[in-house]
């Protein structure tokens, strides 16, 4: 696109924006392929480069597509506002990073749906790419716009803008999509015919093939598939995480990104069963990679990337069955090469502290633990099986090992929450500061504790999918209440997000198709980068809802009845709705459910409905 004049236009644009290295496309391991005779796919992450490049999922898909001779993947991320201004000023369309070709010229554009507050960026990127926003307005020659990722389990607010959606894990489905697309194009099929063929692939959902009918009160009456299409689309799931799916040649950035390290995915899925956690529900079951394979993958990827740090990634890394041997072997094989290791949040027990101690050799940054709720009662409700004693033991252990900083993650606004539960957040954090004294241990310095209190957002396909979100007023009262306590102890710090952002997130999390109108209005009003507080405008969103004549509280704050048809009921991760309802009732009764890895299956539905089973690296 910039070929005239040796890319001079692009060079001038780059000279005019901050962090121009976001737009170079020439990083280590970036793949530059000839476009002729290939299925061309633009992998789009609707946020800024530093966040997009920290995401393992897109690196996996980039690797899987580019491995094929007959296909290519390039990356495109949301241009930061300064670059967008340059593009608009020069009337240039959104381009893919590697070839700098317009995104509009690709066969397929795939967006990852990681969080609801990036939806406005999807519309903005489509507009910048000059692809018609509405799927029904696109013609032959326009790319097919697809989406996947966690929010794809309720893509309904985006239904008008997406040609198709891939539910669940795309490693295998993408290959089938490319095959079907290539064959259909060869045969000269129209967009409609191609979509028809794509819809026969397991896990592929074409929103326009399903009609949604509503009751007068705005709830969904039914979702009717056209023709003989399946009533429910089930997610794709891998039987095992094959080594070949892992990107051993990750693209390495030229600027500091959020997670500038090698991300080693040691397993997928989590069956601890925390009832607020969508990831723990939609990525079931647990599938661990064998230890020897992880070592080989880590070494190969370190060699090809030049990274000096490895992060052991998963939803609950300490639960990897062969962790101790993995850690010891990684340290034995790689520490002479000065490779560092990092861990996401730790499980609350002494084993975790031991592993962290080994991996962090001398470095004592901060430890992160996630009790999520302040009282034992509420932790039972959410099925977070952590006791205060465990927590204090763990904290005291970490403190004895020399850690001085601790991060604690909590949520506010959980179902059934009372003032006692809130006070519990403060008192637990306070006890953590002085853990050694509470346990009558001699010596030791008090810790500095940073508490993050996120507002609970009920998510589809969780036991709390029927629950109302706490009102903004109530959330703000709770934040003030907490703050009034936290200011009493100087070693404690409290962080929280604005309730307004959580409210909009809750609306789109459990929204229906009608919200497409709101998104379009919000886009027209200039909403984008809503996850960035400096760009989020609550007033514009409220205006968009008003113009679309929809009430946001209907989505965020309304309790749903068991018999209500939920907008996402037809898009299943394999979990049964009955099981979720049962878990919800157990939750409100304060009764816990154990992890199915420990031998007892509560029949959530995944291993019954889908061709998959738990896969562990080592016998428990």
């Amino acid at each position: 696109m910039f070929s005239g004049g040796g890319g001079q236009v692009l060079q001038q644009m780059l000279a005019a924006v901050e962090k121009p290295a976001r737009y170079l496309g020439n990083e280590f391991n970036a793949v530059h392929k000839d476009h002729s005779d290939k299925v061309t796919i633009a992998l789009a992450f609707p946020d800024v480069y530093e966040i997009a490049m920290s995401h393992l999922g897109l690196q996996i898909l980039y690797h899987i597509i580019n491995r094929r001779e007959d296909a290519l993947a390039e990356r495109v991320y949301a241009p930061w506002v300064d670059m967008e201004a340059e593009m608009r000023r020069r009337d240039l369309p959104l381009f893919a990073l590697e070839s700098q070709r317009p995104v509009r010229e690709f066969d397929l554009v795939g967006f990852t749906l990681q969080y609801e507050m990036s939806y406005s960026n999807i519309l903005n990127m489509l507009a910048l790419a000059r692809v018609p926003l509405l799927a029904r307005d696109r013609e032959e020659g326009h790319p097919l716009v697809m989406a996947g990722g966690p929010c794809a389990f309720n893509p309904e607010p985006l239904a008008d803008f997406l040609d198709f959606v891939v539910l669940g894990e795309a490693e295998e489905a993408l290959g089938e999509i490319i095959d079907v697309y290539a064959a259909a194009r060869q045969a000269g099929h129209s967009r409609g015919q191609i979509l028809q063929r794509l819809s026969t692939i397991d896990g592929v959902y074409v929103p326009s093939f399903y009609d949604v009918h509503y009751h007068e009160d705005g709830t969904v009456r039914e979702v009717v598939p056209q023709g003989d299409r399946p009533k429910t689309v089930f997610k794709r799931v891998l039987r095992e995480l094959k080594a070949e799916y892992y990107p051993t040649e990750p693209v390495v950035p030229y600027l500091d990104i959020v997670h500038d390290r090698l991300m080693l995915e040691i397993f997928r899925g989590c069956s601890r069963g925390c009832r607020f956690c969508q990831a723990g529900m939609i990525y079931r079951p647990v599938r661990e990679r064998p230890r020897q394979e992880l070592l080989a993958l880590a070494k190969a990827a370190l060699n090809s990337s030049g990274h000096n740090e490895v992060s052991l990634m998963s939803l609950s890394t300490m639960d990897y069955t062969d962790l101790e041997a993995l850690v010891d072997q990684l340290l034995g094989d790689l520490s002479c090469e000065r490779v560092k290791f990092s861990l996401p949040s730790l499980r609350v027990d002494s084993f975790s502290v031991d592993q962290a101690k080994k991996l962090h050799q001398g470095r004592r940054g901060s430890l992160t633990l996630a009790p999520e709720a302040g009282s034992q009662r509420l932790r039972d409700v959410i099925n977070k099986q952590v006791t205060e004693k465990d927590l204090l033991e763990t904290v005291a252990g970490a403190q004895a090992e020399g850690w001085q900083n601790l991060k604690l993650y909590f949520m506010i606004g959980l179902p059934s929450e009372t003032e006692d539960d809130l006070l519990g957040i403060f008192s637990l954090a306070h006890k953590a500061v002085w853990a050694h004294r509470y346990l009558n241990r001699p010596g030791g310095k008090p810790l500095r504790v940073t508490v993050s209190a996120a507002a609970f957002v009920p998510k589809p396909w969780t036991p709390f999918q029927w629950e109302p979100q706490d009102s903004m007023k109530s959330l703000e009262d709770k934040q003030r209440y907490l703050l009034s306590h936290f200011t009493k102890e100087k070693r404690l710090k409290l962080n929280y997000h604005g309730a307004e952002l959580s409210f909009i997130e809750a609306v789109f999390s459990r929204g229906d198709r009608r919200l497409g109108r709101v998104l379009q209005k919000a886009h027209a009003l200039g909403c984008r980068f809503d996850g960035w507080s400096e760009h989020f405008s609550f007033a514009k969103w409220l205006q968009a809802f008003a113009e679309a004549e929809l009430d946001p509280t209907f989505y965020a704050n309304r309790p749903r009845a068991r018999q209500e048809v939920l907008p996402w009921d037809h898009l299943s991760p394999g979990i049964s709705k009955d099981w979720l309802w049962q878990e919800r009732n157990e939750a409100l009764a304060g009764s816990t459910t154990i992890d199915c890895r420990d031998g007892y299956c509560s029949v959530c539905g995944v291993c019954q409905e889908l061709p998959v089973a738990i896969k562990l690296a080592k016998e428990k």
Binding site: A15, P20, N303, E337, R338, G362, R363
Partner: protein, 213 residues
């Protein structure tokens, strides 16, 4: 690579060495860093034909270039390698001047410089306000400009560079109300000062030869 910042460039070099599996030496302490430095930072947006990386390795010099080559990004070439004497000072402390090429210049900028550059060069002192971290400061930039020649569509500059005295190209251009993005800027060479006070390129300095500069 012109848009990659200084620290990111150092990180890139560490990654090149790691990919080539060349052993590096590291600093001591809890957060060891590879002992590796660039003689002088290159401002973001500038092209360069002569960057100097100093590093320690146990690898024999003859094989280094070939070992690194497959792992270099497309826009980086190794132009030469040299082994300094054991007690040599680091280049960083010795850098005094940089040569720059600005161009091709847009016609308007060329005409402006044609009029104003001789006037500038005829002055003994030229004060201008330069933004510093602590706030603006009046600086006499004339002695920081060792030479400035305008030819056809190009401006060639030798400007003070390094820790003792420094004048950025964009600052120099801004004196003439020109923006740095008006034309591509290339750093062509840097010069260090030896014990005798002679200006040498880093390779001349290390090899002990005295070229004509």
């Amino acid at each position: 690579m012109r848009f990659v910042g200084h620290l990111d460039m150092l990180k890139t070099w560490e990654r090149i060495f790691r990919r080539a599996r060349l052993p590096m030496t590291f600093s001591q302490g809890f957060a060891p860093r590879p002992l590796m430095s660039l003689a002088v930072p290159l401002p973001v947006g500038l092209l360069s034909e002569s960057e100097y990386l100093e590093f320690r390795t146990r690898e024999p010099l003859e094989e280094l270039a070939a070992k690194l080559a497959p792992f270099l990004p497309r826009d980086i070439d190794i132009l030469g390698l040299a082994m300094p004497k054991a007690d040599e000072k680091s280049l960083m402390s010795l850098v005094r001047y940089g040569d720059y090429r600005v161009g091709p210049l847009p016609a308007e900028a060329g005409q402006k410089l044609e009029r104003q550059l001789p006037v500038f060069l005829a002055e003994r002192a030229v004060f201008m306000e330069i933004k510093r971290k602590k706030g603006p400061k009046m600086v006499d930039i004339r002695p920081l400009v060792k030479s400035a020649r305008l030819s056809q569509h190009e401006l060639r500059l030798r400007l003070a560079l390094g820790s003792r005295a420094n004048l950025r190209v964009d600052t120099f251009l801004s004196y003439f109300s020109l923006v740095a993005t008006a034309a591509p800027i290339t750093r062509q060479e840097i010069f260090v000062e030896n014990e005798a006070g002679l200006l040498l390129t880093p390779f001349q300095y290390i090899s002990g030869t005295q070229g004509e500069i």
